[in-house]
């Protein structure tokens, strides 16, 4: 019973923290977007007559004081109403929600690709520590991490689409449209995962239990895979939690260049057009994703490391 109570406290604290984080995010975005100037100046063409501007100002509720707008917005969000898009003339949540599958598809595949490449690369580097294998793997990782995504994206378009005519340049209607965005989005993530995996593995290898396993006569490969890797996985999992958010944030450039109809591209357009309700909804969604990802990471610790479970049990006593 006390164990359950402890878990509920843990969960309640986490949820309270998550709610506070989301409220702070909404407030910051609300203030920043409005302090950047009159949204109608970005929304309407440069030669729109002032009387037309005033009709829109009243229609969008922008004639109210900033406090009235803010309190009204908080009240609406609490009721599940995220406002109406100035540009699309419909619910902001519906506009944003339409883009979620595309972002999840691209971000999810890029993350899977990053894990499938990054983890083996890191393990490989550990196997061949301080040899040419290690150096080659880590050089590839540094290269993948330091190449700016917009540069890599344009390079791939020029090479694979224009010169070799192997892949379509941009769009989303064919499966092969996914290949270049996955490479651009996944390369830096794979590089980071490889470096994390290697560092973590090297650290674990020096632990006493690894020496004990070696003394017991466990061969190198099972020792690294069976003993070292599960222990080295914890920092990598933490990192993956952050990377889920980065996939959405990093998608801003990738989705725009490859015309991928996801949240990142919508965010760029909505910020440019000062479509306030849409920007706020996306930021709220990204913040919620980060909060949930961190929660999942915390729970995954318990699954990966029995000591965390013991610790949790201990707090309940």
């Amino acid at each position: 019973m006390s164990r359950l109570k402890g878990f509920l406290w843990f969960l309640a604290l986490r949820l309270a923290r998550a709610t506070a984080t989301l409220a702070i995010c909404v407030t910051i975005v609300f203030v920043v977007l409005r302090s950047a100037g009159d949204p109608l100046a970005s929304l309407l063409p440069d030669d729109t007559p002032p009387d037309v501007v005033e009709i829109y100002r009243e229609r969008f509720g922008l004639d109210q004081s900033i406090w009235q707008q803010y309190l009204g917005y908080l009240q609406s969000v609490a009721h599940g109403d995220f406002g109406r898009s100035f540009v699309h003339h419909r619910d902001a949540l519906a506009v944003v929600w339409e883009r979620v599958p595309a972002t999840l598809e691209l971000g999810g595949l890029a993350l899977i690709a990053a894990v499938l490449i990054g983890v083996p690369l890191g393990v490989l580097a550990t196997f061949g520590r301080n040899t040419w294998v290690d150096r080659a793997a880590m050089s590839a990782a540094v290269f993948g991490y330091s190449l700016p995504n917009f540069f890599l994206a344009i390079l791939l378009i020029l090479w694979l689409s224009l010169s070799l005519r192997l892949l379509p340049s941009a769009g989303s209607d064919l499966p092969q449209h996914l290949i270049m965005p996955i490479i651009v989005l996944g390369a830096p993530a794979a590089a980071k995962i490889a470096r994390f995996t290697r560092t973590s593995m090297v650290e674990v290898i020096g632990q006493p239990f690894m020496r004990a396993a070696a003394a017991k006569g466990v061969p190198t490969r099972p020792r690294l895979i069976g003993h070292a890797f599960p222990n080295a996985a914890i920092p990598v999992v933490t990192f993956l939690g952050f990377e889920i958010g980065a996939m959405i944030g990093g998608g801003v450039v990738t989705e725009t260049i490859f015309a991928w109809p996801g949240l990142g591209r919508l965010l760029v357009q909505a910020v440019g057009q000062r479509d306030l309700a849409v920007v706020q909804t996306i930021v709220l969604m990204i913040a919620a994703t980060m909060v949930c990802a961190n929660l999942l990471v915390d729970l995954a610790y318990g699954w990966l490391d029995p000591r965390v479970r013991v610790g949790l049990r201990g707090t309940g006593k």
Partner: protein
């Protein structure tokens, strides 16, 4: 057990490019032999309510889905800026008085939903509350139809338009981009927001599918009254990145791409199957001089700023010599209203004299501009500032993010563009700089007595000779007070497959009607 050996692997690897590059559309091949047209654009309209999307992005698409009563014949002149009016959904129109126009409709015109277009649809399109009235559904409509008093159906194919005051431009308004005829029955059943996503017009292409900010797919409407469309479908695909649009055109994914900057022309011209097609837009880029700002409140300083700009050098440097320096706010498409012989002066000596007369002593002049809002804006600003330094003006560039920052207190020089909405001073200069404009409302330009008197007289005048004289007075007043300085009419550049026979117009319409789109047979 079959193992993947090296030979199988290599065979597979060779096949990959072929599979990946296969046009999957073959699966949808139909008996329709007309080719599809794929247009890659920088952005798509958020809705398809045609009067709501009065922008270059919106009207490119809606022009193919809707028709106006009267059609402005842009392609009637070689420059793509013709202003002659031709029958379209209306077969004829007749002026009963300066305030009354009777329009006779073309019988047998079908909407995409099968309804016949009648006077009821026309009356519904121009009803009070949609494009006109105190707070209409589409406020932008007031700039075009604020003058309308009543619109009534006389019979099934005849409509009477009356205006509150004599309006010589009513026919041009009916040919403008706010005047697309909508289907009354469908509009009433789905409302403005439903219509915005599932519109029904009479145009050559009808909506097949729209995915916001991704693509808009149109199918040929074979019952189109001008004849069968030349393409079996038109897809507008949003490709914001220029490199991706250009790569897609060259590799054959797209037939036509938009928003090409001048420095890409040579790249396209070097290709075998594609070319650049450009048109000088019915729009001018200009500088604005704020009377509320320090220094620029003095007319002589404003005149000196304008006189010291070498526009030819700007055009040659930034636009490969292809942009046009207009004769003030005065364009050939005005027809008989066009004033011959006017030129914008470049006279550094006179500029220096005016500065001396104004007692200018090297006070700073700041030119605020956004970096990318207007093509070449930042490059132009840097060059202009150097030209000003040549005549002794202590000028600098300040990059701002938006118009709010540009127009914030302390503004001296900013920039803007003025479009020719209707081929007449009342549809251009008067809209951009008249009493209802932002510049006059916000007191950025107050020395307006002569300009406003002539403009108001022009609104009420119907005699062509007197109208021309009043226009001259307006233009003289604007040039003398110099609340701004015109730079040039910019280019709009398209990249097009050579096999696609299509001409651009000076406005942002993308005319894909059967008389302006055909495909050469592939060899």
């Amino acid at each position: 057990m079959t193992l993947l050996n090296r030979r199988h692997f290599m065979q597979g690897a060779v096949a990959v490019p072929l599979v990946l590059n296969t046009d999957f559309a073959f699966a949808q091949a139909s008996a329709d032999k007309r080719p599809p047209l794929v247009v890659a654009v920088a952005g798509l309209p958020a809705t398809l309510e045609p009067a709501r999307e009065l922008s270059n992005v919106g009207t490119r698409v809606t022009y193919s889905m809707f028709d106006t009563l009267i059609r402005r014949d842009f392609l009637g002149t070689p420059d793509g800026g013709g202003s002659e009016l031709k029958p379209h959904l209306a077969t004829s129109w007749e002026r009963k008085s300066p305030k009354e126009l009777i329009v006779t409709l073309r019988p047998g015109v079908k909407f995409h939903n099968g309804d016949e277009m009648t006077a009821d649809d026309v009356v519904y399109t121009f009803r009070d509350g949609r494009l006109r009235g105190a707070k209409p559904e589409i406020p932008e409509g007031r700039a075009y139809f604020g003058t309308l008093d009543t619109v009534e159906a006389i019979d099934k194919y005849t409509v009477r338009f009356t205006t509150k005051a004599p309006d010589v431009l009513l026919e041009q308004r009916l040919a403008s981009w706010a005047s697309w005829i909508v289907n009354k029955r469908h509009y009433e059943s789905v409302g403005i927001d439903g219509f915005s996503r599932a519109p029904v017009g009479t145009g050559p292409y009808k909506l097949a599918r729209m995915v916001a900010n991704d693509f808009i797919a149109l199918d040929a409407f074979d019952d189109y009254w001008m004849g069968k469309p030349s393409a079996r479908s038109v897809t507008f695909r949003a490709i914001p990145e220029l490199a991706a649009r250009v790569a897609g055109l060259i590799s054959g994914e797209y037939d036509l791409i938009t928003n090409i900057p001048p420095d890409q022309i040579s790249l396209l011209e070097g290709q075998k199957d594609v070319e650049a097609r450009s048109v000088v837009l019915a729009n001018v880029h200009l500088l604005t001089f704020d009377e509320l700002g320090p220094l620029t409140k003095d007319k002589r300083i404003r005149q000196a700023l304008s006189l010291s700009i070498d526009r030819r050098k700007l055009v040659d440097t930034l636009w490969l010599g292809k942009a046009v320096i207009p004769d003030s706010h005065n364009y050939p498409e005005y027809g008989q209203m066009f004033l011959e012989g006017r030129k914008i002066a470049f006279d550094p000596a006179k500029a220096r004299a005016l500065l001396k007369e104004a007692g200018y002593a090297g006070e700073p002049v700041v030119y605020r501009t956004m970096p990318n809002y207007y093509t070449n804006a930042l490059d132009a600003a840097q060059i202009i500032v150097e030209m000003w330094k040549e005549v002794g003006i202590n000028a600098s560039v300040q990059v701002v993010e938006n118009f709010n920052q540009m127009r914030a207190a302390g503004q001296q020089v900013g920039n803007n563009s003025n479009s020719t909405r209707l081929p007449d001073p009342l549809g251009a200069l008067w809209v951009s700089w008249g009493p209802d404009s932002e510049f006059q409302k916000k007191k950025n330009w107050t020395t307006t007595t002569a300009f406003n008197e002539a403009g108001r007289a022009l609104e009420a005048e119907t005699d062509p000779a007197k109208r021309k004289e009043l226009f001259k007075t307006m233009l003289d007043a604007w040039d003398d007070e110099a609340p701004g300085a015109i730079l040039y009419r910019p280019l709009e550049i398209y990249g097009v497959k050579k096999s696609v026979k299509w001409r651009p117009t000076t406005f942002y319409f993308m005319d894909l009607r059967p008389d302006n789109l055909r495909f050469d047979q592939l060899p």
